[in-house]
Amino acid sequence: MLPDDALERLMESARAVAKVCESNSLQQWEVVGEQDYGHSIDLEAGKISLAAGGGSGGLGLRVVEDGRYGYAHLADASGAQRAVQDALSIARKSPSIAGFELPVDSGSAATSGLIDRRIIDMSSDDILEQADEILSSVTALDSRAVVTGGGIGAGAGAEVIINSNGIEDGGIHTSHGFGIQVGIDEDDHLTSAYEGSSSRSQLSDVEQVIERAVYWAQITRNTIDSGEVSDCPVLMTAQGFSPLFSMVVPTALMGERIAQGESFWSKRMGEKVIADHLTIIDDRIMEGGMSSSSRDGEGVLTKRQTLVDSGRLQSSLWSTRDACRMVAEGKVEHAQTTGSASRGGYQSPPGTGCGNLLLQSSQKSHSRDSLIEEMDEGYIVHSVMGAHTANPTSGDFSVTTSMVLRVEEGEIIGSLKQAGLSGNIGKALAGDLMLGDKIRSNGSYSSGSMYLPDVLLKQGLRINPA
């Protein structure tokens, strides 16, 4: 899937752009390059609907002059001169930020678990076989169950970064993932559930994920009469909680937003902001982490940093430019990069974001069954619709769920057809809550990847049955 010399060729292209930068006597410059290859299969109506493959890539160029920066992206090195002129022209119209310079090389480090040779060697036939197995496994678990949508994919990519301050690095990463929407349509009653998984190495949890999808499509068939609007305990499964958490918490932890007053945790540095048994960590060097890398989006070495320690806000996420700008504008006395520069790809300059965000508790963690028992009466929510409508500025959210189970006397008694779920993420995390014992990784609506357990939120949420 990945040509043997992909990294070398990409580095060669980046160096060619760098050479043009040098020939234009730019003060400071940074070139990034990406090249991705992959195979994917679309699943639809219980069968494979399409098989695809291909590759894409390009280069990005950032120039800095007297604290001003400009950016341009290009398809290949032949566009370097035009990109340099575009970026330079923008830099000269940008405000100067005192002290803003591109990062300097501070050594090298390797993050493990980002490449699996088995993925690089996967052919389109291998992926097709995996798709066959997924389809047949679903039907084997429940003959009524059909994969109504989803897909499976495997990919490998090369990325490089070079800058005028001595950073020159590159690497290869792989990924393997799948997601399935499983539906059971019987007696004019359709229930469905989406489950997925992704990994830097060959997937090892396919069967478990399929079992979960079929389980949730099955268990939500037992619908019961809706209850009344109530403020009550809610057990959010990791899958249900991750979208809301990811929409709100990474944004609230950005240094620039805290400094600007745009975070509900602004002016709270050093204070208790969530329950004192909780800790939030951004671990960008997590072995095999979906958002792990040895360097951040501007070449700074990455690290594991504790953002909220035992409930207290201890630090925040910074990239080089944001840190310099907030200091220059007097919004903070001191700030420096935390290796948290993130890119949406070579098409955009680095912004700030988290890597692998973990929510942990110093208290004993619990199995899902014991959390249900502890809840005694309330609801379990496994997925929500409209998580992207949550308000990251305030932490408020009001979403809908069709995957909601009613619990009474510590037992699941049935499913609601639909319910509203509302509350405030910041306040819910500051209230009485317990964490589950299994961490699951999920993607994010803002930045990075979420590594969260089930969370029993005893206060602050409202269920509004349809």
Binding site: A72, Q260, N464
Partner: protein, 480 residues
Amino acid sequence: MVIATRAQEGPSQGRMHLLDRDKIQPALDLALAEGAQYAELRLVCETTNSASLRDGKLHSAIPGQEVGATLRILADGAWGVHSTTDIASIPSQIESTVRLAKAVALRRNRADVGVSLAEVPIIQDELHWNAPKDVREIDLETRLEMMGQVHAEADDDERIISVRCGWSDEHLHHELLTSEGMDRTWSFQRIMTNTMVTARDGDDVVSYRSRTGGEGGLELIEATDLGNMGRTCRESAIRLLSAERAPSGKMTLVADRDLTGVYIHEALGHPCEADLVAAGDSCLEGKLGEKIGSDIVTVIDDPMIRGGYGAYPIDDEGVDTRTKSLIENGVLTDYLNHRETAHKFDLIPNGAARAQDGLHHPLVRMSNTMIMGGNHRDLDELIEDIDHGVFACGSRGGQVDTGRGSFQFAAQEAWLIENGELTNPLKDVSVSGMTLQILKQVDGLTRDAALAAPGFCGKGQTVPVGDGGPLMRIKEALVG
């Protein structure tokens, strides 16, 4: 590959093609010789500019150009696809992509019917929707000046702690060559500016955002009262600081144009997408010709509404676009189709095939989706007989489960309606419901239907869309 980024020297002036016909046509012929039923190559060249202001200062400006192409081959009733930014490599991918399609076909059960495509006119032409003020001629100073107008009004209160303004414009050049002899080149452009205002009072922090733009050039932004856009955002953000949390439960809802648009996009538009119907993932399966809404509900999807953010002249299978009537007086009259689903449901392809860019294959998508106007004069007439309800405004987005037919959308701000009057401002209002129930609950529409703010729709791929309508009253909705 660098392609001209200025209008007078670029493609889409009737003088330049990016695909070399002499190489591509024989490659498509080779696909047929290898056993394919159909082969196409679609290229998209996007010339883009984005910019942003933070608190009145230039934060970023990014010029760029992306070229991508997707080879799509149908063999033995199954699809194989190859996408790449390396355009020159495409002829070498023909045989492997035919093999890929055949490998998919081999996995079909005997009972499964293979993919066939509805017939469409085979056209060779060029069509360019030029704009009076081409986006490729806009300089950075103009973008900054325009965003500066918004910022100046948005920032005019000490409780406003930040104003973020964004800008994006893009010129899209498409070429499509098929083994059937289709050879179409078309282009169009879009422009948009947006603002997010954050206000703080003690520990209360809120934000409000707005967008304007559409298909066309700078003239669309010049025609907008940008100062008013900034002022409206500021006033709404300040109002939200003292707004109460919305009541929960079933009540009468009145939606503004933005929310009416999101509602019809989520609740009806997605379930009308025939690829979802074919996949067994739509609550509208088998309901063509059935009454699914109240008599006053008529809905169209129309890529030909020039200026709408979801407008385009030709779809990504080379089919001419047209107005699609989805519901007429409450009766479901059509699905949105591409060639595959049109054949499956024995319908006429209606130009709804859209791909995110040159690197993605087309799916069935909406364009500009609108509920048409009704008989109510204005908001006052719509709310005069409501004892207890909510008037919700401005979209924060929405989502739908097309199979179950449940949907959700969220408002930026709202007011309580008490005894026919707007009273307290509310925040965090979301609305949810079931498509097949709530379309019958629409019992009031004002006369003045129009597209609302530009939007984006995600379905694995993201595409720009327009949606809108009049002010709409829903007799009973679940408000949270």
